[in-house]
């Protein structure tokens, strides 16, 4: 590969690569990277306990996947997230401190990107100085401050997406090695290894690697199929030991897919990238006959395609915009290829370009340096460390139950708004929220509890509706999740705590107050008071969420199954498929004694009565195995239930069948790779072809497909979220009838637990109110309140209902409703409005 480059050019490239690294180090200062403090900021700090758990618990057992009790009432770690960066952290953590190791690995993707791009261009056979130009151009992408969520750039990395950044760098290297490999019939094992590393770093970068491969399918299916099959097949085999358990775990994850709202075209084409993108446009015309141009353009269009269909196929669309931007930035470097032959002293150009780009990037960078300093100085260097440390020290010894921490933006001063997620590391206590919400079956319930107990909850999963602040219901759910300590920060929640005598203020640290829930017994395993009900359903989430939000059924637990077998019919007295049919049947009162011990990956239980069902307040997963009971039942909301057959019961988290099969397949892959010299035939190098008409036809077809996808997604089959947005727009414009049609569609197509459905339902009713159709509005609002008695939208529904009553002349009823809002939802703006309305009504009608 290096032969085509004269030594002088190699030295220049090397110098510029060193310059790039030094430029990056000017931002990521070594003294911060090497400071032995725990990284904070965005999501980053919350990843740290997982790395610590991998190093201290899983790796000593020769495991990279396992069960972590620390967050979400337990969740399977690395069954829905990417272990490579964490393995690197843990591995390096045996040589240096884990804190420093973690910091170094979080910046690995950022530092690797210019190098990977440089080698990608070399593999693509671009001549000097194009590869080093490409490397320099990556700086503009890395320092793009336009977003911190799309991935790949420094702000996204600082926000916690360092796994994506690593995969992002590797996939651009793969872009070059695949092209070279397929045209010259080599690098098959290398490419398969890259597929493994990319997939092991992030799923979205793996998807992009598949898109790159699809180019060669279209290019020459007959010629390229075997090679592609070899690369992707071998890469898949390498990944199997991890990927098969991940795929097997999918039914137990939480979906997080929605269409990202891009507010301005400048978000996609930010000023800092525009010059490079403009160069790409010129490069396209200048190099249009080059096959590699088609490769780039194909990848760009493929990104648009996946972006458009993303939410429909279960992927987050916005993550593909990062690839789109990067490709458009990089391709600009190829413009110079034709020029080089005409110019002298070209060795100066990399230096000139580097300094131009470095200055350009530097003057366009505002907040990145501050954010880096904030993150890499670590929790321990914050002014508030004494407060956070004090809380942790108290919690370490305050009890055995879980800790819930009120969600508030004020926590940002501790190091991150997600600081509480690090409690399993700093306080050695289990907490509810955590970083891996998509990998946790309990996430929707945890965030529902958060919405009940926080003044400013984050309500992060749009597929679910949330509660308004309701500490009374929150207490019930605290007990269900065995929460014994509640950390409160906002003045609003602190202000209402005195109304709940079940909470006792145990400790104040700075502005934080720690309350003990006196009525929680700190028990992870409890005997059921009422007979469990077998609930037959194909959609347990929807049913369980409705059950969870309804107060009436709180002590009658549902065991979920698709169908009931003979054994089930013998065990369960009630078998239903509708929540309205559930009846509460208590067990006779007994003096049951149950003791439990929760370990990292096992649960020990001792019960006084065989046969009486025990609720285990730990998230369900099929990999849990039981001794001393027949089986583990999946019970509402997302926990485990056993009917003891012995006095001692033991549950353990085991690898499971997919893991066993996966390991065998990975061994097969390694075996095949080792033997590759025997079965892999080298193909003769083919001359580089120009892009012929066929390639342009491919691109034309792709453009048509993209256009059709756009049309289909937006006009033929819109999803609930898009429809809701359109409905809200019609509503704001006063087109209530039109809005109602859309809201009705959202209600029809969504599940009961759906957030969009709840919102559509309330606005469907409010539309009548706005049209002064009070009787219809009242009817719809009553239905809404009955269905969603505690939702975020419920105070608004009550307020509109009161307005309807005024409109209908039922003033006394209106007063009662306003009073109810003031009493039941005192911290909402609707309570303030209600007070005003009550004053108005009392002024106008003195008899009220």
């Amino acid at each position: 590969m290096l032969k085509i480059f004269p030594r002088k050019n190699l030295i220049i490239d090397l110098v510029i690569l060193v310059f790039i690294a030094i430029f990056l180090l000017g931002y990521f200062q070594p003294k911060l990277l090497l400071m032995q403090t725990t990284i904070n900021g965005g999501d980053t700090g919350s990843h740290y306990p997982c790395a610590d758990y991998l190093k201290e618990v899983l790796l000593p057992q020769a495991k990279i996947m396992g069960w972590m009790q620390g967050n979400y009432a337990g969740f399977p770690l690395f069954y829905h997230y990417f272990p490579l960066p964490f393995l690197l952290v843990a591995g390096l953590g045996y040589l240096i401190s884990l804190e420093v190791s973690f910091k170094l690995i979080t910046v690995l993707g950022v530092f690797m990107l210019p190098f990977c791009v440089y080698f990608a261009f070399r593999f693509l056979k671009y001549e000097f100085p194009i590869p080093i130009f490409g490397a320099v151009f990556t700086l503009s992408f890395l320092f793009n401050q336009g977003n911190s969520m799309w991935g790949g750039n420094i702000p996204s990395t600082l926000a916690g997406e360092f796994c994506y950044s690593l995969g992002f760098a590797l996939v651009f290297l793969f872009m070059g090695t695949l092209y070279r490999g397929i045209t010259e019939g080599k690098y098959l094992v290398l490419n398969a290894l890259l597929i493994f590393l990319i997939g092991f770093s992030h799923a979205y970068t793996l998807i992009f690697s598949l898109l790159l491969g699809s180019f060669f399918v279209f290019d020459n299916f007959k010629k390229n199929f075997k090679y592609l099959f070899g690369v992707y097949g071998l890469g898949f085999l390498f990944l199997c030991f991890w990927l098969l358990p991940v795929l097997g775990n999918l039914p137990y994850t939480t979906s997080f897919v929605f269409r990202w709202t891009i507010r301005s075209i400048l978000e996609v084409f930010p000023a800092v990238l525009i010059p490079f993108m403009a160069l790409s446009l010129f490069a396209f015309f200048v190099n249009r006959k080059d096959k590699r141009t088609v490769y780039f353009i194909y990848a760009v269009i493929a990104c648009i395609f996946v972006y458009l269909i993303g939410p429909r196929i279960g992927v987050l669309d916005i993550r593909f915009v990062a690839f789109f931007q990067m490709l458009l930035v990089l391709f600009g470097a190829t413009l110079f290829e034709g020029l080089m032959k005409e110019l002298k002293f070209t060795f100066l150009l990399p230096f000139i370009l580097f300094f131009v780009v470095a200055i350009w990037v530097d003057v366009n960078t505002t907040y990145i340096r501050g954010w880096i300093n904030w993150n890499y100085s670590g929790y321990e260097m914050k002014e508030t460390w004494n407060v956070f440390h004090g809380i942790n020290q108290y919690l370490k010894h305050s009890g055995e139950g879980r800790v819930e921490w009120e969600h508030t933006p004020l926590d940002e001063s501790l190091g991150s708004i997600r600081t509480s997620e690090t409690l399993p590391y700093f306080a050695r206590r289990q907490t509810l929220e955590g970083i891996h919400m998509l990998g946790a079956i309990s996430a929707p319930f945890v965030f529902y509890i958060e919405s009940e107990t926080s003044y400013q909850s984050c309500n992060p999963i749009p597929d679910y509706f949330y509660s308004t602040l309701d500490l009374g219901r929150g207490i019930d759910h605290f007990k269900l999740f065995n929460v014994s300590d509640f950390v409160v920060r906002s003045p609003q929640v602190k202000g209402i705590m005195k109304n709940y005598p079940e909470f006792k203020l145990e400790k104040s640290v700075g502005e934080y107050q720690i309350y003990r829930l006196l009525t929680n017994k700190d028990e992870y395993v409890t005997p059921l008071a009422n007979q469990p009900v077998l609930f037959l359903t194909d959609d347990w989430r929807d049913v369980s969420y409705e059950w969870f939000a309804k107060e009436q059924l709180k002590d009658t637990f549902l065991v979920f199954a698709r169908q009931a077998d003979q054994e089930d019919r013998g065990i369960f007295k009630q078998i239903v498929s509708d929540l309205d049919d559930v009846k509460t049947v208590p067990y006779p009162k007994k003096n049951l004694k149950v003791k439990s011990l929760i370990r990292d990956e096992s649960i020990e239980i001792e019960t006084s009565e065989i046969g009486h069902p025990l609720l285990i307040k730990v998230s369900y997963h099929p990999n849990w195995r039981v001794e001393g009971a027949d089986k583990i039942y999946f019970v509402s909301p997302c926990f485990m239930l056993v009917f003891p057959e012995k006095h001692r019961i033991r549950l353990s988290f085991e690898p499971g069948l997919p893991s066993m099969v996966g390991r065998l397949l990975t061994l097969l892959g390694v075996f095949l790779a080792i033997l590759s010299p025997f079965w892999l035939k080298q193909r003769p190098t083919l001359p580089e072809s120009e892009a012929g008409a066929k390639k342009w036809i491919i691109l034309f077809i792709l453009v048509v497909v993209v256009g059709f996808s756009f049309f289909a997604i937006n006009f033929i089959v819109p999803d609930a979220n898009s429809l809701l947005k359109k409905g809200r727009l019609d509503f704001e414009r006063g087109n209530y009838a039109l809005a109602r049609e859309k809201f009705a569609d959202v209600i029809r197509m969504s599940k009961k637990s759906s957030g969009p459905r709840c919102e559509a339902r309330v606005f469907y009713a409010t539309g009548f109110v706005r049209e002064n159709r009070f009787a219809e509005g009242k009817g719809e609002l009553r239905k809404f309140i009955e269905e969603y008695p505690n939702s975020f939208w419920t105070p608004q529904a009550y307020f509109d209902l009161a307005y309807c009553e005024v409109g209908l002349g039922n003033l006394k009823s209106a007063v009662r409703i306003y009073q109810k809002i003031v009493h039941a939802f005192p911290l909402t703006t609707w309570a303030k409005y209600s007070k005003d309305r009550l004053k108005d009504l009392k002024n106008k009608h003195e008899t009220l």
Binding site: F19, I22, F23, G26, Q145, G146, P270, A271, V272, I274, P275, A278, L279, F282, L335, G338, L339, E342, L343, K344, F345, L348, L349, F351, I352, F355, V356, A358, I359, W360, D362, V363, N364, T365, T366, Y367, G370, W374, E383, T384, P409, L410, E412, S413, P491, E511
Partner: protein
């Protein structure tokens, strides 16, 4: 083809930087004197796009400072209000200075402060100062100077004490200047300011306050000025100026080389 290089340069010059979240407190101060008591009301509205934290007014009259109530969080477009009362024991009637410092912090609890200053009338109607001051804005990173020009518009000499009031992020070196300004003439003063903890990109209002007595009446003249804190840009620890010079040299050599004939 070479025209493409020109295009490249033009494109690089055309862009601008992205904006970040910010806090902007618009403060208004009202005061009135009732007998010997000065009553001050401060209101501040957050016109930025992120909440301000630990918002607190600090009100100063002569050597006495009263910290007002602290508000944990001031949301966007929300208003902070505070009151304070001072017992005045001034010997002479006239116009006296009142200084209000708004303290606040961003989401990371990084502290900021903003100044505002005005005069209040004590045992007299509002007076117009015979000294008029003009202060030049200045930009620096670590150290800088602000120049104040004071003009005496009266028909007699004025002996004034002039000092600079700065927010706590800045430090002013000089003690108050005691100076006399002849009738119908002007005097220049330079104040040296150091950056103590101000962040790059921030702007601060500073006030030069000149106090003097004339005909048994106390007079105050307040001259506002702006200080901008701009970090000296460096790459590899080398100032931009040096890099740009080197860059231009390389470009010149490169361009010149294109006109060299091959041997």
């Amino acid at each position: 083809m070479k025209k493409l290089f020109l295009l490249l340069l033009i494109l690089f010059l055309g862009a601008y930087s992205a904006a970040a979240s910010y806090i902007s407190l618009q403060t208004s101060v009202t005061s009135r004197v009732v007998k010997n008591t000065l009553k001050v009301s401060v209101s501040a509205i957050n016109k930025g796009d992120e909440p301000a934290h630990n918002v607190q007014a600090e009100i100063r009259v002569k050597e006495k400072t009263i910290p007002a109530k602290k508000l944990a969080q001031l949301g966007v477009n929300q208003v902070y209000r505070a009151q304070a009362s001072f017992n005045l024991s001034h010997k002479k009637p006239g116009e006296y200075p009142l200084i209000v410092t708004m303290h606040y912090a961003d989401a990371n609890l990084y502290p900021f402060s903003a100044l505002t200053s005005q005069t209040f009338s004590y045992k007299t109607d509002a007076l117009v100062s015979e000294i008029f001051g003009s202060m030049q804005s200045t930009t620096f990173w670590k150290k800088g100077k602000v120049k104040l020009t004071l003009k005496n518009m009266s028909r007699s000499e004025v002996k004034a004490s002039t000092y600079l009031v700065v927010p706590r992020e800045l430090t002013v070196a000089e003690k108050p200047f005691e100076l006399s300004i002849p009738s119908k003439s002007a005097r220049d003063l330079n104040f040296e300011i150091e950056n103590f903890s101000a962040l790059h990109g921030s702007s601060y209002q500073v006030f030069a306050i000149s106090e003097y007595e004339k005909n048994g009446v106390y007079q105050t003249s307040i001259s506002p000025g702006t200080v901008k804190i701009i970090k000296t840009r460096e790459i590899f620890g080398i100032n931009y100026t040096v890099i740009i010079v080197v860059l231009l040299l390389m470009v010149l050599i490169f361009v010149a080389a294109q006109f060299l004939k091959k041997k």
